[in-house]
Subunit: 155 residues, 2 copies
DNA sequence: GTTGAAAATATACAGAC
DNA sequence: GTCTGTATATTTTCAAC
């Protein structure tokens, strides 16, 4: 479904998404129009989901990362706790994890103080939340949304 | 350090990073050249870190997410466990978290089987790794690297 | 920051494979 | 169906203000 050339194009875009089309064409050795057509098709097929700018969190007072396990006892018929948590702007990720009826929440804030405020004022207030357990991050070694492609694992 | 106009530009780019410059200029009501100059400056200042294409993980057999707590007893003088974990391609995030001498690892794989393989063959093999505890994700409610800007929180 | 013109790039399209 | 090559439209770049 995805051939070698498209994989190469995707790899180039993963490296540097704002690269001009002609440059991509040069790197894969094809005419720009052909590359453009492929990219448009990858977008329409939903293989390319979109393009994002990556901002430096430190520069926006968002350098402090924490993961919070949120235990919830859902009440049927209401908005799921996960959706309520997702609406908090500082929250970047909300996953429901197996095994303990809990959500795992990734959050980015300025410092420990702000973290405490949000847990108390926003997370604990969500209907159905029973308890939270927080793990604050001291050092980040890797943080990317990139997925390795090229080993012919396409579906 | 960042004024209203640059914030607006960043918000537009966060919405849709591959938008043409002239379109950004239209939206902020300035000349394209001025917008370009601002963007270049934001890039040089490291406020804009880069641009990324967002690929659909499902289409690359990477729809299964898990978080793994990796307990480690570091041996001084060697490569930190966190760095070794970061080198595993399927691993998207590695954080050292406070309180339990443990790393929190986010990983994307095809399925539970592949997860088991990687834990056994790659993670458990890293020098200094003592034990792992895995939480597999059943549902993801939110997953973004976007940080809310605009509330004048800039540093 | 703006304008305006030159250069580069993106897009659409016709024809070859 | 995908590629190349060409034309046309749009955007980027850069100098002058």
């Amino acid at each position: 479904m995805i051939d070698e050339i498209s994989l190469k194009i995707l790899n180039i875009l993963q490296e540097k998404a704002r690269i001009p089309n002609v440059e991509v064409a040069r790197q894969v050795g094809m005419a720009p129009s052909a590359v453009l057509e492929r990219i448009r098709k990858l977008e329409k097929q939903g293989i390319i989901d979109g393009y994002e700018v990556r901002l430096n969190p430190e520069r926006f007072a968002r350098g402090f990362v924490a993961f919070i396990f949120v235990k919830a006892g859902e009440t049927p018929g209401e908005i799921p706790v996960g959706e309520m948590l997702a609406r908090i702007p500082e929250v970047q990720e909300v996953h429901f994890v197996a095994g303990e009826d809990a959500y795992l929440v990734k959050i980015r804030v300025a410092d420990a103080g702000e973290l405490g405020n949000i847990i108390r004022e926003k997370i604990a207030q969500v209907d159905g939340v029973l308890s939270t357990r927080t793990a604050t991050v001291l050092t980040t070694f890797k943080e990317t949304a990139r997925i390795p492609i090229g080993e012919a694992r396409e579906t």
